[in-house]
Amino acid sequence: MRSSSNTIRTNRAVTTLATLLAGALALTACSSNDDKDGTESHSTTATGSGLSLPKLDGTSLEVAAVWTGQEQKNFKQVLAEFEKRTGAKVTFVPAQDPIINFLGSKIAGGQPPDVALLPQPGAIKQAVQKKWAKPLGAEAQAELAKNYSQGWQDIGKVDGKQYGVYYKAANKSLIWYNAKAFENAGAKEPKTWPELLTAAQAVYDSGVTPFSVGGADGWTLTDWFENVYLSQAGPEKYDQLAQHKIKWTDPSVKAALTTLAQVWGKKNYVAGGADGALQTEFPASVTQTFTGGDQPKAAMVYEGDFAQVNIGETKAKVGTDAKVFPFPAVGSTAPVVSGGDAAVILKDSKGAQALATFLASPEAATIQAKLGGYLSPNKNVPVSAYPNTVQQTIAKALIASGDDFRFDMSDQAPQAFGGTPGKGEWKDLQDFLKNPKDVAGTQAKLEKDAAAAYGSGS
């Protein structure tokens, strides 16, 4: 699939040196040279679904996103297709987390990128409040209405106006498991929380640690919590807690933490113990689950669909060696927690609008879907575009959940609470992983940090 797109475009490697605050990383950015006579003939053949994009020869656009590595490379192929169709030149600007602050400095400097991909609904709201974001034009909105369910359209709205195009989605209600370890243990894919505990016990009895937790990154822990909470306390409470309308000292939080402690707190259930898990970063937590043959460091790892990018680094094959089951139902229904990146226009222009329209189209999403490691909330992306059955299942589950999904809670919270390493919810849940007996103390700390963060109104 990649070879076909490579033959269409002629490549020119443009190296840009992106100096990240964390240090100087040399990223090789690859943008395609628009070969005009080649473009014309191909764009007419490729445009099948009636997506019409204006001719934008001579325009240059900048797109900022936090994606790195393979993800960035794949996205650039999508941008290349846009260049091919319109003749515009698109540059990818690597940003760093938190992107809203990155954009803040860009905007203060008077040079915002034309389009930015914002990972949190809270960030879109901030961008609108600060008057950075520009509303979508008619074409983009039409494209969006055609391809997206109401729920996905709504989370891109602020005060009734459409600002964001959710280009990329994440299904964060999945548990990946080492098929071999499950087979050795005679364990079955669980559908409910008690079944999960039974499967874990079977795995443990067979001599493999059941869970791998990437506790060095706090967000994996907040995602664990959100799944348990959404399923156990229900969507209404979930929304209230996300907006801090109920306190973290609420009994429902206590119940969720207690449930969580059944996994986190059980001796030998977490690979490396709590201390080891707290020093395991997310990528390592995935790879250690799928390396080591019969004797992996752990049998299951919880995280979203994007974990398969890390599985790709091991010898395990997604679908045969690495399998996946939806996060089991703790309460009455299984949770669907999702995340996503929305394209938001920061500099209104014909080109930026066209790019937003393109990103809302199934054509753009299909290109990246074929490359793997990507999930689109676009319901018109054919399921067959995903490279393997596992991804097809995940995509189907996401589309099927319709408007019942809930967006990642920590992504909705203020940055200081839900998105800063070593602070707020991340830190509090890390402390909880270390000491799972202290439910009340954890709640008190969460409430204290939440009150400070929500109170400051940032």
Binding site: L21, A22, G23, A24, P98, N101, E183, N184, A185, G186, A202, Y204, D205, S206, G207, V208, T209, G215, A216, D217, G218, N268, G272, D275, G276, L278, Q279, E281, D294, Q295, Q415, A416, G419, T420, P421, G422, K423, W426, K427, Q430, S456, S458
Partner: protein, 447 residues
């Protein structure tokens, strides 16, 4: 910011404002020539400092005057207080250890013929950027002994003295006759002569079994003693199988220690054979059988270098690795300037080498040592990259230093007011050290 401030002070004495200079240059001409430098310094040093100070009195969004609230936060916020505490640890230990090591290296290498080669090696880390050194040490301190060198060495040394056991994760399965006690497992009911006892456990994978473990066999009853089997009651791929009885492919716990405990006293001990069977003499009649904790000792996992308590010393270690070479080279240069006669004279007078070092070399080197230590101190006050990279997210809070907190407040938490206050505070901390350095420099010039 802090180093920029260091550069900001010299121009003050340099501007001649009183009268015509010796060469007869007019003041306007002098000012003209100074202008480019002044503009640059003003725009790049004075203005940022000034603006930081002003910004530190405003709130997060920058439109409301906050008074000294941001400074109050400096001393009430837990994060900043840990940062402050860690900064003090850094300033006290990092420069002194680096300087001491540098001094030792310099004095010792002076006397060996391959000293230059040694110095080259010690100085080498200086050629590496802080970022790269951070990444290297993140790996060195990795908890997993298979990845982290520090723990590989530590575990290697530890394991030569203390063997780990064969069944670290074994535990009773469902409906087990065993209960956990004191880290081991003990039967619920006493055993009697002529009885066949089953001591099943689960949780040991076939690959982890000791070499030579064979398929578990049911023990034959012996009227003169107690017999039994201890084995892994778990068939791969099938689960427990027949509960409490060995299935065809289940392995015996070869080498498992078994104690018979009667009224709290061990009356007999034995070891399981390779098929898991064991026999105990008749005197164990009525005793409880215990699998002592020694069987289940967890493999030693090394030191938690990057855990909350050791993370700061560990990062200081990586800093010393980088900067001891720098200290050594400067001190070696100073050492070369010491008059040999003084050392010779001391030796002739009968001083031993330690006395020469302590009473002659070190006092003569004192000015150099002071320069090195002070330079490192300034360097350490603004340490950021090593901490940012080496400390994993979970212990970043424990490893926090002021510069990192500044970054986090300013760029991750959107609190530029507090971040500016930290910057100003750091500047205040650097000023006395700087003043000391400048005064020393002036004295040097006058001499």
């Amino acid at each position: 910011m802090t180093s920029a401030a260091a550069a900001g002070v010299p121009p003050a004495p340099a501007a001649p404002k009183r009268r015509k200079s010796v060469t007869g240059t007019r003041r306007t001409v002098a000012a003209l020539f100074l202008l480019p430098a002044l503009v640059l310094l003003g725009a790049l040093v004075v203005y940022p400092i000034g603006y930081s100070i002003i910004r530190s009195f405003y709130n997060a969004s920058g439109d409301g005057f906050a008074g000294v609230d941001n400074y109050k936060a400096l001393f009430t916020d837990d994060g900043i207080r840990t940062a402050l505490k860690n900064n003090i640890i850094w300033v006290v230990f990092a420069p002194t250890v680096s300087t001491a090591l540098g001094l030792i290296f310099a004095v010792l290498t002076e006397r060996v013929s391959w000293g230059t080669a040694f110095k080259l090696v010690v100085f080498m880390p200086m050629a590496i950027s802080m970022l790269a050194a951070g990444i290297i040490f993140r790996l060195v301190y990795d908890q997993d002994p298979d990845k982290g060198v520090a723990n590989a060495v530590w575990v290697g040394v530890h394991d030569t003295f203390a063997q780990s056991s064969a069944f670290p994760k074994a535990h009773p399965g469902r409906e087990s006759p065993l209960v956990a006690r004191d880290g081991g497992f003990i039967t619920k009911a006493p055993v009697h002569t002529g009885e066949v006892v089953a001591l099943p456990l689960v949780g040991v994978a076939p690959d982890q079994m000791p070499d030579g473990a064979q398929k578990a066999a049911a023990a034959k009853p012996d009227p003169a003693g107690i017999t039994g089997t201890t084995w892994q009651d778990f068939t791969r791929g099938k689960g427990v199988g027949r509960l409490g009885a060995p299935d065809p492919t289940e392995l015996g716990y070869s080498g498992m220690k078994i104690e018979a405990v009667l009224d709290g006293k061990v009356v007999a001990t034995t070891k399981a054979a390779s098929d898991g069977t064991f026999t105990l003499p008749a005197k164990a009649d009525g005793a409880l059988l215990r699998l002592p904790a020694g069987n289940f000792k967890e493999p030693y996992n090394g030191v938690e270098w990057l855990g909350p308590s050791l993370v700061t010393p560990a990062i200081i270690g990586s800093y010393v690795w980088m900067w001891a070479g720098f200290a050594m080279v400067l001190i070696a240069a100073g050492l070369a300037g010491i008059p040999r006669e003084l050392l010779e004279a001391a030796r002739v007078d009968g001083a031993n080498e330690w006395q020469v070092f302590r009473r002659v070399t070190v006092p003569l080197l004192a000015p150099v040592l002071a320069v090195v230590a002070v330079t490192l101190m300034i360097n350490v006050l603004k340490v950021f990259d090593l901490v940012f990279i080496i400390a994993p997210g979970s212990s970043q809070d424990d490893a926090n230093v002021l510069a990192l907190e500044l970054y986090r407040k300013g760029f991750a938490e959107d609190q530029p007011g507090i971040a500016s206050a930290i910057a100003v505070f750091l500047l205040l901390l650097v000023i006395p050290v700087m003043a000391f350095n400048i005064r020393r420099l002036r004295r040097e010039v006058r001499r």
